[in-house]
């Protein structure tokens, strides 16, 4: 049986206590929320923290506040099931409800949190393996080694950002609140990530993500499409998040963010810009989809071949746009598009 390595578990009741505990134990400590990402990684000895600071006991981290009109605030400890099933999120930020509802399996969504999903470790099929396996193939720089097995000539790690909600939150213009013993700050989700498989979060280890702040939903439509082998369990190997604000029949503002094709969610800004001021015609959609595929640069370290994931970027962007334009009719099942 795969077992956890030993650690000390702290169960603070307040955010302050948690931040203090983190500061106190420094590099030895890690935060754990649902544990659905961290515990498997620990069992494979990818992380061996001496101290775990559990966030479950902190009531303030749970729940959804505010309204779509003023903007919603979602506690980082809210489970993915709760996010997916929240009526206002489902109605007004449908891409987020969709993405949360497509994470892994029902059981994992009951345990995993939105905060954990935002912070979820990057993945690579040379990395998410047991200690023995990694030893057999040669350790990589993300843990115990010093090269990247996907791109051996590269100085950096190419593990893949594999969160379903991250590209969506980015496309929605969400911000996150980070709290540390030394103080707190609020940053754009777009500023939370960096394109490095190891240092994928622009966050200090002592900072706890406490809330996800969604801007007012008025006028916005959103969609999320996910590519994976099976309808359950599997991480995205491509995620397409599109958010549009329509002004009449024309696009007022647009964001397209791609998930799981780099070490960070990757915005397709050129493509999004091409939408602004235009009507969503099939021709425009085709052109924008082509443009959006540009920033999609997957490597061979997930399920499916990387040329396929690249190719599907265009198809999925087009389908998401068609769905938002009401041009569906031949796209993915409607439940996955909102």
């Amino acid at each position: 049986m795969m077992r956890l390595p030993p650690f000390t578990y702290l169960a603070p009741r307040t955010l302050g206590d948690a931040a203090t505990a983190l500061a106190e134990h420094g590099r030895d400590a890690m935060v754990v929320a649902g544990g659905t990402d961290l515990y498997p990684n620990m069992k494979r000895l990818q992380f061996e923290p001496k101290v775990l600071v559990g966030l479950r006991g902190i009531r303030d981290l749970r729940g959804v506040r505010g309204s779509a009109r003023e903007g919603l605030t979602i506690g980082a400890g809210t489970t993915l099931s709760a996010v997916a099933g929240h009526p206002e999120i489902a109605a007004r930020y449908p891409a987020l409800a969709t993405a949360a509802g497509l994470v892994s399996s029902p059981q994992l969504r009951n345990m995993g949190t939105l905060g954990g999903n935002v912070c979820v470790d990057t993945r690579c099929n040379y990395y998410n393996q047991s200690h023995e396996w990694r030893k057999a193939v040669g350790f990589c720089m993300k843990k115990d080694g010093d090269i990247c097995l996907v791109a051996p000539a590269s100085p950096r790690c190419w593990a893949v950002s594999s969160s379903d909600t991250a590209p969506v939150l980015w496309s929605l213009g969400a911000r996150v609140r980070l709290v540390a013993a030394s103080g707190e700050r609020t940053v754009e989700v777009s500023a939370l990530y960096q394109d490095d498989g190891i240092a994928y979060l622009a966050k200090q280890p002592g900072e706890i993500l406490t809330e996800i702040l969604l801007p007012p939903a008025d006028g916005w439509k959103s969609a999320y499409l996910k590519l994976r082998r099976r309808g359950s369990f599997d991480f995205p190997v491509l995620g397409v998040a599109v958010a549009l604000r329509l002004e009449g029949a024309r696009v007022g503002e647009a964001r397209i963010v791609l998930g799981a094709v780099a070490s960070t969610p990757r915005p397709a800004d050129v493509a999004a810009a091409a939408l602004v001021g235009e009507r969503l015609t099939p021709e425009l959609i085709a052109r924008v989809a082509d443009l959006a595929a540009g920033p999609s640069k997957p490597l061979d370290n997930t399920d499916f071949t990387h040329p396929y994931r690249k190719k599907m970027t265009r198809v999925f962007v087009a389908r998401a746009l068609r769905a938002l334009a009401g041009l569906d009719g031949s796209g993915r099942p409607v439940e996955e598009v909102a």
Partner: protein, 164 residues
């Protein structure tokens, strides 16, 4: 280092002295002798170890008992009440929904949570609810049939008589 933890399982409260890094799966099986909870990966990838925490299906291989203090845990051993099988257990037995039986406890509990939430689910809803439980034997067909049969009986339908 061991920690004293109080766990409520199937309505009984147990005080256990275990290392804090032992998962609920390990504590149930190795400390409480409740081996009805099975495991197929211990990494959250198969659903075999599913138990209910306050009625919600969770994976015992990724849950720590310290995190569940105060929760009501239900394992397969807690499904039958006073010697009477849960209608799901009855239906699974009657329809041959358990072949090797190894995935069965996890699936029964997941289904129990579904029926508590949605007493008359559609087949698609049953499929969606059980999408996190792998079974290698049955092709799921008889499992879906059995959940539907149990739902029917629990809501007063009587398509098939008791065949035990």
């Amino acid at each position: 280092m061991k920690t004293r933890i109080s766990l409520t399982v199937n309505g009984e409260t147990h005080e256990v002295l275990v290392p804090v890094h032992k998962t609920l799966l390990e504590v149930l099986r190795e400390d409480l002798g409740l081996t009805g909870t099975k495991h197929g990966c211990e990494l959250g990838e198969c659903g075999t170890c599913t138990v209910l925490a306050d009625g919600e299906p969770v994976l015992s291989c990724l849950a720590l008992p310290v995190e569940l203090a105060g929760c009501e845990i239900t394992t397969v051993e807690g499904m039958a009440r006073g010697g009477r099988l849960h209608p799901l257990q009855q239906a699974f037995a009657e329809l041959g929904a358990a072949q090797c039986g190894y995935c069965t406890p996890g699936i029964l509990l997941t289904a129990q949570a579904l029926l508590a939430d949605r007493p008359t689910p559609t087949r698609q809803e049953v499929k969606a609810a059980l999408a996190g439980n792998l079974c290698r034997c049955t092709g799921y067909t008889k499992i879906l049939d059995a959940v539907e049969l149990a739902a029917l009986r629990m809501t007063g339908g009587s398509r098939v008589g008791d065949r035990r």
